[in-house]
Amino acid sequence: MNSNRPKNLDLTTIELPLPAKASILHRISGFALFFAVAFMLCALGASLESEQSFNELKDVMNGGLAKFITWGILSALGYHFVAGVKHLLMDMGIGETKESGRTGAIITLIAGVVVIVLAGVWVW
């Protein structure tokens, strides 16, 4: 590999195109979900342990902070889901050109916002 090849990885000097924005958000949401699994397992464990812990969990989930965390996890999950479907479609050869890739990114971002808003409505 030619180590003298010019490269510019200073992201502050690059305007990311839309597909790149959709992609980095996919990565960030995935990174967040990695740690969210701990919260989800906690909740799953409490929900299944006993009727008492199930009801206690329901009470906890009515708290402001718990609702915010739940919304955050659902948002990350929702966006990761939508962007993941785009990935699978692109694997099948759909939306691979520069123009359709941009369209796909716009659809992904809009669908992501819709999912995040709906998740907020559902939680609150």
Binding site: F31, F34, L48, G84, L88
Partner: protein
């Protein structure tokens, strides 16, 4: 250069297939659980516990749990090889911590599922 020794499937193609297969399983599981919860607004403990008592649900949940571990490993491995390129030992430590998390999730999740 980044070592491929820690690569899950020992090749990019295997990782690609594992990531896609686990993604599909997780998508179906997510939609199913979401549908179940939405379809029962006043979900009781008996209904919820009853669902997770079914053997098919244990199979489905364990498949999802293993998929989370495989999927997250490929994702975190990719992140580590993209951003932690300066130090092999630092990247290895990061991957070790991630593997520790995922192994804990796996055992913890199995414990939850099989306590039902």
């Amino acid at each position: 250069m980044v070592n491929s020794v820690t690569n899950f499937g020992r090749s990019g193609l295997y990782d690609w297939v594992i990531q896609r297969l686990s993604a599909v399983i997780l998508a179906i599981y997510t939609l199913f659980l979401f549908g179940f919860v939405v379809a029962s607004p006043d979900l009781t403990f008996a209904e919820w516990h009853g669902l997770f008592s079914q053997v098919w649900m244990k199979v489905f949940s364990l498949a999802a749990l293993i998929s989370i571990c495989a999927h997250a490993w490929v994702g975190m491995w990719t992140i580590s090889t993209d951003y932690i390129t300066g130090s092999t030992s630092l990247r290895f430590i990061f991957q070790l911590v991630m593997a520790g998390f995922l192994f804990t999730y796996l055992v913890w999740g199995i414990d939850i599922l099989w306590s039902v």
